[in-house]
């Protein structure tokens, strides 16, 4: 505790008061960077240039002696000592349609319910880190809005507030013609109507509407956190001007403001065709903002309380197909984690020499969820959801946290 507080002194006025408060209160936060479609482990975390399945890229030294990443991760290679990489994920599901929800829901034992996605689960289990902000924000290409489906069987209010293309929610600004008093009266009337409606209807739906309005009001009060103009141009350069760079920088801003869980999606990583030309252009788009975020959180004293995870639904096949692509490979692939109870510089996993298969058991998503919940201070075996009178595990009962990457 003294160490944390002592560390804060050095940052002085650089820290936003809300950040200083979170660090002091040791509020845990999460940033999940989701590379949808599946990043190739050979072109990123586990290059194995002597493997018969290797691509054409070099492997480069990292800041950890003896550990190499692909040359497509030059920035992350420099901060390898700050992160952990698990090279032996073995997650069973080779399909997008089932693999994405499985990896984001954690695959607890089937009880006939739709489990919440990770962001909704954390929103439920930890609540908001900053009461005046939504607990779960999802920055994604395409459309935004309030995505209640992420909450699964939880109340819809634990869904994700999605910022389409990183844009703030529509109508975040109160029209000039509406005074604060008029706005308050309007909200009071809406709440009254909701109460009447709630008496005869599914309360979850009403909660979702109510949550949307509450969020909108909260965001109207904090609209400065969506103001791109205030971002330092040098930060933009460091994170990259591509969508993933811009969105991860925005995630940092939201984490600094106190959002509990931020998910950042990047699509089109499903490189069945032209994998090597595409990886050459895609992987650096993840490398640059990931490394910048880790460094910035570390510099701000936030990394010890902020978990950063970069992952996909699976990796890509060792075999190179006829279109010079790689197909889906859940059998042995890699993910990266950093911060918040995760060891620094733990690059783990024993694979066959060519990287195609795990030697031993490997780790499934259940192990990952226990790890994530554990480092966030959630007792992943003891804590339960309650749903219609039923106690439901928050993570797969048959799995344990991955101790090798935990402090």
């Amino acid at each position: 505790m003294l160490g944390n507080l002592g560390g804060l002194v050095g940052f002085g006025s650089l820290l936003h008061p809300s950040i200083a408060k979170q660090i002091e209160e040791k509020q845990k936060q999460v940033c999940l960077i989701w590379l949808d479609g599946g990043i190739s482990q050979y072109e990123s975390w586990h290059p194995l240039p002597e493997s018969k399945f290797a691509g054409p890229f070099r492997s480069i030294k990292t800041s950890i002696p003896g550990i190499h990443f692909s040359e497509l991760l030059p920035n992350t290679a420099k901060i390898a000592h700050k992160i952990s990489v698990i090279r032996t994920m073995a997650t069973k599901d080779p399909n997008h349609s089932t693999g994405v929800p499985r990896m984001q829901r954690g695959d607890p034992l089937d009880r006939g319910v739709d489990y919440p996605y990770l962001g909704s689960a954390v929103a439920k289990l930890l609540g908001p880190a900053e009461p005046e902000l939504p607990p779960y924000v999802w920055i994604k290409p395409g459309n935004g809005g309030f995505i209640h489906r992420e909450a699964g069987f939880l109340d819809a209010r634990y869904g994700a507030l999605a910022l389409g293309d990183g844009r703030p929610p529509v109508h975040i600004h109160r029209p000039d013609g509406v005074t604060a008093e008029l706005d308050a009266a309007r909200n009071a009337l809406r709440q009254k109507a909701n109460e009447r409606f709630r008496a005869y209807r599914n309360t979850s739906d009403v909660d979702a509407y109510e949550t949307s309005y509450d969020m909108a009001r909260k965001l109207m009060a904090r609209k400065e956190i969506f103001d791109d103009e205030k971002l330092d141009p040098k930060d933009r350069e460091r994170y990259g001007l591509h969508p993933l760079g811009r969105h991860v920088l925005q995630a940092r801003q939201l984490l600094e403001a106190g959002v509990r869980f931020v998910k950042v999606n990047s699509y089109h990583w499903d490189t069945h065709g032209d994998n090597f030309n595409m990886s050459q252009r895609l992987v650096p788009q993840a490398d640059q903002p990931f490394a910048a975020l880790i460094n910035d959180l570390d510099d701000r004293g936030m990394l010890d309380n902020t978990l950063v995870v970069m992952m996909s639904e699976f990796g890509r096949t060792p075999l190179i197909n006829s279109r010079l692509g790689r197909d889906h490979w859940p059998d042995c692939w890699s993910i990266a984690l950093a911060g918040c109870g995760i060891k620094r510089g733990a690059i783990i996993g024993d694979t066959t020499k060519d990287g195609a298969f795990v030697n031993g058991e490997g780790y499934d998503v259940g192990h990952l969820f226990h790890t994530i919940f554990s480092v966030l201070g959630i007792q992943s075996h003891r804590q339960k959801y309650r749903h219609k009178g039923q106690k439901l595990s928050i993570a797969n009962d048959d799995c344990e946290p991955i101790k090798e990457v935990m402090l």
Partner: protein, 360 residues
């Protein structure tokens, strides 16, 4: 011995050279006695056809990206995805004659030799064309102008001009000797970047002059649907060399969804090209270039290069062969039965098969 009449409609696979790893480039030597190939296993493989012997030249540290023979001397040039070019005396030595360590800021994608054999020309990711002396590998000059990765090069039949094609669909003509850019041809159709893409897709993957130098064929694919699967419509643009205008756009009949990586004109101005497709058979396609539809096609695995034998009757295609484990996931696969995909160097004879002759 008389040369049989060219008849691509009766073309047949007359020889197959199998290889245990994937090969992406293959070329006949100028005397037709040798075949060189390179790809995933980092080696340059050289077959002496008459003796049915193969040797492998070790030196590259990554995939071999391009190969070209010297037109007059017993030299072979190879390039790789780490910017290295090596010159080999393929008949007499397993050691390189010379090496260029940094021929490109990143990957070398294409090599060509001028008709007089004086210059080796390379191009790749850094978008700068480099001209090297073939005798010693010393840099003669650099040609700048492209804005993105250069995938393809070709020299005109009169030996006076070089053409280069890049990711954005820019084809540039350069004079050989004084090394000036003459003009730019528009093949932007072969590049796709939709609003939701996170990378540029396509580019000019192949270039070929007709024998009389009046036509330039520019290959790739158009209308890519995503930057993930990268599926597009394989397309060839036929340029009138005199005017620089597109005369015709050639299509395929089959289902291939990858780019044309190689094109060659035959002596009667028939154009031949090969493309790729995911997990199924592609085809070797022939056109009379005034017609957009192919005049003939032959089913073949995905093919990545084409080389015409000096007898003008044999065509060499490095062809993908699945190892039996392709597709998503490894269910039922073990380290013992999860096998690498492989290649066959398939030589098609472009005339009617003599009676009693076996294929392959």
């Amino acid at each position: 011995m008389s040369v049989p009449p060219l008849d691509v409609t009766k073309a047949w696979p007359s020889l197959e050279l199998e290889h245990g790893r994937q090969l992406f480039r293959a070329q006949f030597s100028p005397d037709g006695h040798w075949v060189a190939a390179g790809g995933q296993d980092k080696l340059v493989h050289v077959w002496e056809l008459e003796k049915n012997e193969k040797k492998s030249l070790d030196g590259h540290k990554t995939w071999v990206s391009s190969l070209v023979f010297h037109p007059k001397e017993k030299k072979l040039f190879s390039a790789d995805y780490q910017g290295v070019i090596r010159c080999w005396n393929y008949e007499k030595s397993d050691k390189p004659v010379w090496t260029i360590d940094e021929a490109d800021g990143d990957n070398v994608r294409a090599l060509v030799v001028t008709a007089d054999g004086k210059y080796l020309i390379s191009a790749g990711d850094d978008a700068v064309i480099k001209v090297w002396q073939t005798r010693n590998g010393k840099l003669a000059t650099k040609l700048e102008g492209h804005q993105e990765c250069i995938f393809s090069l070709a020299v005109s039949p009169d030996g006076k001009h070089l053409v280069s094609g890049d990711l954005y669909g820019s084809v540039r003509q350069w004079s050989i000797g004084d090394w000036k850019q003459i003009r730019e041809l528009d093949a932007k159709l072969l590049h796709t970047r939709k609003e939701n893409f996170i990378a540029d897709v396509g580019g000019v993957r192949s270039l070929a002059f007709s024998g009389d130098g009046k036509l330039l064929a520019v290959g790739g694919m158009k209308e890519a649907k995503s930057n993930a699967f990268c599926p597009g419509k394989p397309t060839v643009l036929i340029f009138d060399w005199a005017t620089g205008k597109v005369k015709n756009e050639l299509k395929i009949k089959g289902k291939s969804d990858g780019p044309f990586n190689a094109l060659r004109f035959l002596e009667d101005n028939t154009l031949v090209g090969h493309t790729e497709i995911l997990h199924t058979a592609s085809e070797l396609t022939f056109w009379k270039i005034d017609q957009p539809e192919p005049m003939h096609s032959i089913k073949n695995g995905s093919g990545y290069d084409l080389s015409l034998h000096p007898d003008k009757r044999q065509l060499l295609v490095p062809t993908y062969v699945p190892g039996g484990s392709s597709g998503n996931g490894g269910r039922g696969k073990t380290p013992e039965n999860y096998l690498s995909n492989t290649s066959v160097l398939r030589i098609f004879s472009l005339f009617a098969k003599p009676e009693g002759k076996k294929e392959g």
